[in-house]
C-alpha cells in the first residue's frame, strides 16, 4: 500500500485514464444489450421493431408479460424446471459431498483409485450415442429421471469440495474426534457439514444454475410435452419461433397481421421471465460463485 502514496507520474496518468476509458467501453458493450432487453420487454413492439426504442421504454406496456403469463406452456415449464432444479440439486449434493469427503480423508484406502476413475471421465467419454442408448436401455427415456440421473455429479465439483474439506477441516479435529470414539458418519454430519456452509452454497448454486439452464438432455430424452422444462419451451418460442395461438391471441385477420409484432414483445418478455430467478439471486450470490471458481483453481 506504500506504493500508492507516490504520486503517479505523467505517463502513468495517461495510462490510467486510457485504461478507464477502455473499461467504460467494455461496461457499455456488456450492459447495453441487457438494458435493451429489459426496455424492449415493456415497450410498444412497433417502436422496438422500427428502432425507435433504443434505451428507455417507449409507450410503456405490460402486454408481453400478460400474454406470457397467460400461456400454460410457460407455467408448466416453470413448474417442471423448478422440480428438476430442486430435486436435481439435492441429488447432486447427496452424491458430491460424501464422495468428496471420503476422498479428502488421508486414511481412506483407495482414494487414488477413485480419484483416477473420476478424473478419466473428464477427458474421455463414450460420447453422445452410447450414452443415449444406455439411458434408453435403462428405460429412462421420456421420464423425468433422464434429466436427473445422468447428471448426478460433476468431477470438477467433487474436486472443488475435496479441496475445500482438505483446507478447512483441520486434521487434528478429525483425530480428536476419532479418539473420542466418533464414527466417520457422525463426524461428517455433526462436524464437517456444519463447518462447510460456504462450499455447500457454492455447490448448490453451480448445480442449480446448471439444472435451470440445461436444455439438451430434455431435447433428446423427452418427447412428452407434459415434462418439458422451461428451456425447451423457450427454444420453441425463441429459436424455432413457434409462438402458438395461445400466446398470439385470436386468429382473425387483424390478429394475424399483428402476429409478428406480438411475437417480438413476447420474446423479450419471455427472456426476462426465464432469467429472472437467476438475476434476482445473482447479486447476493456473486461472491459465492467467485469463491467457488477460486477454490477450484487453487489446487487441481
Amino acid at each position: 500500500m506504500t506504493g500508492t502514496k507516490i504520486k503517479e507520474n505523467f505517463q502513468d496518468q495517461i495510462f490510467l485514464t486510457f485504461n478507464r476509458i477502455v473499461l467504460c467501453f467494455v461496461l457499455l458493450i456488456v450492459a447495453y444489450p441487457l438494458m435493451y432487453i429489459v426496455s424492449a420487454s415493456v415497450s410498444n413492439p412497433a417502436a422496438v421493431n422500427s428502432g425507435a426504442m433504443w434505451l428507455l421504454p417507449v409507450d410503456f406496456t405490460l402486454e408481453g408479460y400478460e400474454r406470457v403469463f397467460g400461456d400454460s406452456r410457460i407455467w408448466r415449464g416453470y413448474r417442471n424446471t423448478l422440480f428438476y432444479t430442486v430435486v436435481g440439486t439435492l441429488i447432486n449434493l447427496a452424491v458430491t459431498l460424501p464422495a468428496a469427503y471420503a476422498m479428502a480423508r488421508k486414511d481412506f484406502v483407495g482414494r487414488n483409485f477413485f480419484m483416477a476413475m473420476f478424473v478419466i471421465t473428464m477427458f474421455f467419454s463414450g460420447g453422445l450415442i452410447p450414452t443415449y442408448l444406455l439411458v434408453k436401455s435403462l428405460g429412462l427415456v421420456n421420464s423425468p429421471w433422464a434429466l436427473l440421473l445422468p447428471n448426478a455429479a460433476a468431477v470438477w465439483n467433487i474436486i472443488i469440495c475435496r479441496t475445500f474439506f482438505q483446507v478447512t477441516i483441520p486434521q487434528e479435529l478429525e483425530e480428536a474426534a476419532k479418539m473420542d470414539g466418533c464414527s466417520v458418519t457422525k463426524m461428517f454430519f455433526k462436524i464437517v457439514l456444519p463447518l462447510s456452509a460456504p462450499i455447500i452454497a457454492v455447490m448448490a448454486l453451480f448445480y442449480g444454475v446448471g439444472h435451470w439452464n440445461s436444455y439438451f438432455n430434455a431435447l433428446i430424452y423427452l418427447t412428452d410435452r407434459e415434462w418439458f422444462p422451461l428451456q425447451l419451451v423457450l427454444r420453441q418460442i425463441l429459436v424455432l419461433q413457434e409462438i402458438g395461438s395461445e400466446l398470439s391471441g385470436a386468429v382473425n385477420g387483424e390478429a394475424a397481421a399483428n402476429k409478428e409484432q406480438i411475437a417480438a414483445i413476447i420474446k423479450y418478455a419471455v427472456i426476462i421471465i426465464a432469467t429472472l430467478p437467476i438475476i434476482v439471486i445473482y447479486p447476493f450470490m456473486q461472491r459465492f460463485f467467485v469463491k467457488g471458481v477460486m477454490i477450484g483453481s487453487i489446487k487441481g
Binding site: 506504493g3 505517463q11 422500427s50 484406502v109 473420476f118 463414450g126 442408448l133 444406455l134 439438451f216
Partner: protein
C-alpha cells in the same frame, strides 16, 4: 511388506463407512460414464438394438472409412477447427487483457461495477442467449441492423449468410464469457508479491513496464493450464449453441462434428456410424490434449500431469 498390507486392510476396515460415502458417486460414474465407454464398441459393429452391444455383428473400421470418404468430411473438419481456433484466438487472450486492465483500477466501486456487470451474462442460458442473438441480428427488426443503418450499412442477414456464422458464434461467446474468465486471472494477480511492485516503482518503472515485467510473467502458469484445458475441448466446441443457431441456410459453415453426430445418430438413428464419428472426435481431442501437455511440459515445465 506383509505387515504393511495388513495394516492397510485394518485401516480400510476401520473406515468402512467411507466406502458407503463414495458408493453413490462410484455407481454413478460406473453406470453413466464407464458403461457408455463400453458401448462405444458399436462403432465397430452394425448395432441392432435387439441384439445388444455384444451380440451385434462386427464390421471393423467400416464406419470410419465411410466417414473419411464421405463428401462432407472435410467441411466438418474445416468448420470444427475453424470455429475452435477462432474461439481460442479471441476467447483466450481477452479475459487476460481485461483482468490486467481491471487490476490497475484502484477505485473499488468502479472496479466492482465492471466486474458485476461483466460476470452477469455468464448466467444466461444457452437457449436464451441464442434467442437474443437471433432477435438482435434480425435484418428487419434487430437492434444491430438498426445501428448499422445509422452508418448507411446493411441490412445484413447475419443468421442466414454462411459467411457470418463463425463471427456471430465467437463474438457472442466473447460477450457472454470474457468477464467470467477474468476471475482466475484476477486471483493470480492478487497473489503477486506487492514488494516486487514497490521495488519496481523505486526503480522508476512505469505501470506499463510493471504489467509487462511483473504481472504478465505471474500469469503464465495459469495461462498455460487454461490453454491446455481449452485445447482438450477444441473439437467439442459450444455444441449446444451451434445446434440452436444452426439453420438450413447457414449449415454450410455451421455444421461441426458434434452437431453432425447428433443429427445422424439421434435424428436419423444411424447409431453405429454416428458413434464412430463421435469416437473419432473424442480420440483427436485426447491426442491434442496429450500433445499440448507434453509440449508445455518441455517448454515451460507446467503441465496437467
Amino acid at each position: 511388506m506383509k505387515q504393511n498390507r495388513q495394516s492397510q486392510w485394518k485401516k480400510a476396515l476401520q473406515t468402512w463407512q467411507l466406502y458407503i460415502f463414495i458408493l453413490p458417486a462410484f455407481l454413478y460414474f460406473l453406470i453413466f460414464h464407464y458403461f457408455p465407454m463400453y458401448g462405444v464398441l458399436i462403432a465397430f459393429k452394425n448395432y441392432v438394438p435387439t441384439m445388444g452391444v455384444w451380440g451385434s455383428e462386427w464390421v471393423g473400421f467400416q464406419h470410419f472409412t465411410d466417414f473419411f470418404d464421405s463428401y462432407y468430411f472435410w467441411d466438418l473438419i474445416r468448420n470444427t477447427l475453424g470455429i475452435s481456433l477462432y474461439s481460442l484466438a479471441l476467447g483466450f487472450p481477452l479475459p487476460i487483457l481485461l483482468a490486467l486492465s481491471l487490476n490497475e483500477v484502484k477505485d473499488s466501486i468502479f472496479k466492482r461495477t465492471v466486474q458485476t456487470v461483466t460476470y452477469a451474462p455468464h448466467f444466461i442460458s444457452v437457449v436464451v442467449m441464442s434467442g437474443m442473438i437471433i432477435a438482435f441480428l434480425s435484418p428487419s427488426t434487430g437492434m444491430v441492423n438498426h445501428f448499422l443503418g445509422l452508418f448507411g450499412i446493411g441490412p445484413i442477414s447475419f443468421m442466414t449468410e454462411p459467411g457470418w456464422f463463425k463471427t456471430v458464434f465467437v463474438m457472442s461467446d466473447v460477450w457472454q464469457n470474457t468477464g467470467w474468465g477474468t476471475i482466475i486471472y484476477l486471483a493470480a494477480l492478487a497473489g503477486v508479491d506487492p514488494q516486487r511492485h514497490e521495488a519496481a516503482i523505486v526503480d522508476g518503472a512505469t505501470r506499463l513496464q510493471r504489467i509487462w515485467y511483473i504481472n504478465i510473467p505471474a500469469l503464465i502458469p495459469t495461462m498455460i493450464i487454461l490453454l491446455i484445458l481449452n485445447t482438450g475441448n477444441l473439437l467439442a466446441v459450444g455444441f449446444e449453441k451451434i445446434l440452436l443457431l444452426q439453420n438450413s441456410l447457414n449449415m454450410e459453415s455451421s455444421d461441426v462434428i458434434a452437431t453432425f453426430v447428433y443429427r445422424v445418430g439421434l435424428l436419423d438413428a444411424q447409431y453405429s456410424f454416428s458413434a464412430a464419428v463421435g469416437l473419432f472426435n473424442a480420440l483427436i481431442n485426447a491426442a491434442l490434449l496429450i500433445a499440448v501437455n507434453q509440449i508445455s511440459k518441455k517448454v515451460s515445465e507446467t503441465s496437467l500431469w
